[in-house]
């Protein structure tokens, strides 16, 4: 009886969690989805929706745009966050707590409040419709969380290791490179995954900033397949699958690290 209850629970959770992914992939592979077929088990399995999306649909361009923006965000974010995390966890200085509280509070600010002034600012600076403009905004969004997470990783490195490096005659810079950096590498991986996902998934700024469809990122490019009257669902789901797969691979691969370091955190769009 108890085992049956557990089995039922497991089946229910699996069904609920996997249903949207299943429906997405199955529709992407359904050759008749564009013709109005709505089913959980297509009669006509095909890859032609994917071929259409990447070829004629121009989704390859959006994928490479998103990849560029995400990589820019990840690289710049990792560097800036690491420097800042070292500052707040290895030094005691005036206003240190104020900086930390600001980093915390700033994560709560709704993007809806930022999109209006940043749109006007970017317009004045002629940064609208550029991938760099978008990457800079995403960098700002991912920094607070990255600093907050890395701070824990840096603090967990024993100070004795640093002191040993100094005793061996290393400068601060040398110690940073040879002792601290390798030891916080796992933390950098975790925060980089998070920054990548922020940039990859972001919708509202990409929608507002990008007007030329050559510059669309994946989240906005998807809207292309929505017609005025009829929606090309096969194409939408094929494109959605292409967007979702990298994120899922990251999540499942980094599962252990994410559940340790980031459950704690805030991986949520």
């Amino acid at each position: 009886m108890r085992a049956a209850g557990k089995g039922l629970g497991v089946a229910g959770v699996l069904g609920f969690t996997l249903f949207p992914v299943y429906l997405m992939v199955v529709t992407a592979l359904n050759g008749e989805a564009n013709a109005g077929s709505r089913t959980l088990w297509p009669a006509d399995w095909t890859l032609k929706n994917f071929a259409y999306v990447v070829g004629e649909g121009g989704f390859g361009r959006y994928l490479s745009n998103s990849l560029l923006v995400a990589l820019g965000t990840v690289l710049a974010g990792a560097l800036l966050a690491l420097l800042a995390a070292v500052a707040v966890s290895r030094f005691r200085f005036r206003f240190r707590t104020s900086v930390l509280v600001m980093v915390l509070i700033i994560q709560m600010v709704p993007v809806e409040a930022l999109v209006i002034p940043l749109f006007i600012q970017a317009r004045t600076l002629q940064m609208l419709d550029t991938l760099v403009g978008l990457a800079v905004v995403y960098l700002a969004f991912s920094l607070p969380f990255a600093i907050w997470t890395l701070r824990g990783f840096v603090a967990a490195v024993p100070v004795e290791l640093e002191e040993a490096a100094y005793l061996d005659g290393a400068s601060w810079g040398r110690m940073f490179r040879s002792v601290l950096l390798p030891l916080v590498a796992p933390g950098l991986v975790a925060t980089s995954v998070f920054s990548f996902i922020v940039a990859w998934n972001e919708f509202i700024f990409a929608l507002t900033f990008m007007s030329d469809d050559q510059n669309y990122t994946v989240a906005v490019g998807l809207r292309r397949f929505f017609g005025q009257h009829a929606t090309d669902w096969g194409a939408v789901m094929a494109a959605s699958t292409l967007i979702t797969i990298p994120v899922m691979v990251f999540f499942v691969l980094a599962q252990k690290r994410l559940t340790d370091g980031l459950v704690a955190g805030a991986v949520k769009g």
């Binding site: 497991v10 699996l14 969690t17 949207p20 992914v21 997405m24 089913t39 800036l80 420097l83 800042a84 500052a87 707040v88 030094f91 005691r92 200085f93 240190r96 509280v101 509070i105 700033i106 994560q107 600010v109 709704p110 809806e112 409040a113 930022l114 209006i116 002034p117 940043l118 006007i120 317009r123 800079v136 700002a140 969004f141 600093i147 907050w148 997470t149 701070r151 824990g152 603090a155 601060w172 998934n201 919708f203 509202i204 998807l222 939408v236 789901m237 959605s240 979702t244 994120v247 899922m248 999540f251 599962q255 559940t259 370091g261 459950v263 704690a264 955190g265 805030a266 991986v267 949520k268």
Partner: protein
């Protein structure tokens, strides 16, 4: 946002136990290290926050956007906002009730899943956890489109299933037309996306409860519900507090999941939230001043929740 769990879940990591560094006396270095990050966050998060406040006091439309002139209206936008019947009958109830219901569902469902996970063998637990990670990883944009597709009027698979159960008539039902059914679909989407965080965090907390305590309570004859109420819940109170406050913050600012649903982009005014209203007023109506005032109201609401969160954290751990 991790620090509370760091105490609850990973008691081994205690950042504040190190004595003050002797090199800490060199005051310039920390600021040099912080400077790039502070510059980016100041310029792109703090300054815009100040700008949105200033904008909310202006009549800022297309003309001002092009000419760069300012036209102050004092509290005019706020007067219009607070005097609007839409705010009190539609937007505010939508935002608040949706957030409260979604948070309650997310936390309750996440907790039930965590309790289930804690009772599974490691292999099965691994499988279910992976499925949960898959749900968590689903981007908001694609997740929303899938739910919209499932509930598409007429032939969506979920509508057909409800029709087969005799709950709706697939020929006439449009889940996105009515306010209640619109938000029911939105809640399903938000819970699906949000419960993994709760489940995995609560599970991590559950695993820290000493087995002896559970066994002792079983010996004492406590049933499952009694054990949860008198043992699990009190021990994990900080964990529950954190997941609840964080979920509340997230669900108040839900934007993509609402905006991308049919009618959610302002076409159906009955389903506007503070977030979507602010965006539509700004970018569709070109009334950036009024949009900014709505955004300020939303930020103020969130600030109240955030203060609650911070008070909670600062009791937990010294920064």
């Amino acid at each position: 946002m991790t620090l509370a769990e760091r105490t609850d879940v990973e008691p081994g990591v205690a950042p504040s136990t190190h004595p003050a560094r002797r090199r800490g006396s060199r005051t310039a270095r920390p600021w040099l290290l912080l400077a790039p990050a502070l510059l980016v966050m100041g310029g792109l998060l703090l300054y815009p926050l100040f700008r949105v406040l200033v904008l909310s006091l202006q009549d800022f439309g297309l003309r001002e956007l092009v000419s760069g002139r300012t036209h102050w209206v004092g509290l005019g936008n706020y007067a219009e906002l607070l005097g609007s019947a839409d705010l009190w009958t539609t937007v505010l109830p939508n935002t608040v009730v949706f957030a409260v219901v979604a948070v309650a569902l997310t936390v309750v469902f996440g907790t039930i899943v965590a309790l289930l996970l804690a009772r599974l063998t490691p292999v099965v637990r691994g499988v279910v956890t992976t499925a949960i990670m898959v749900a968590w990883a689903m981007p908001a944009v694609t997740g929303t489109y899938v739910w919209v597709f499932a509930f598409a009027p007429g032939d969506g698979v979920a509508v057909q299933a409800l029709d087969a159960l005799g709950l709706v008539d697939a020929a006439t039902a449009d889940p996105f037309a009515g306010r209640l059914s619109f938000y029911a679909v939105a809640a399903l989407n938000v819970v699906h996306h949000g419960f993994p965080f709760v489940a995995l965090t609560v599970l991590a907390g559950l695993l820290t409860i000493p087995r002896e305590l559970t066994e002792a309570s079983i010996v004492d004859g406590a049933g499952p519900w009694r054990r949860f109420r008198s043992l699990t819940f009190p021990m994990l109170r900080p964990v529950f507090a954190v997941v609840t406050v964080l979920s509340t913050i997230w669900d108040f600012k839900v934007f993509t999941q609402i905006y991308l649903m049919p009618g959610g982009d302002g076409v159906n005014r009955g389903v506007l939230t503070l977030g979507t209203w602010s965006y539509v007023e700004s970018f569709a109506q070109n009334r950036y001043g009024l949009g900014a005032a709505i955004a300020v109201l939303l930020t103020a609401l969130l600030l109240v929740v955030t203060v609650a969160y911070l008070r909670l954290l600062f009791r937990e751990e010294e920064l």
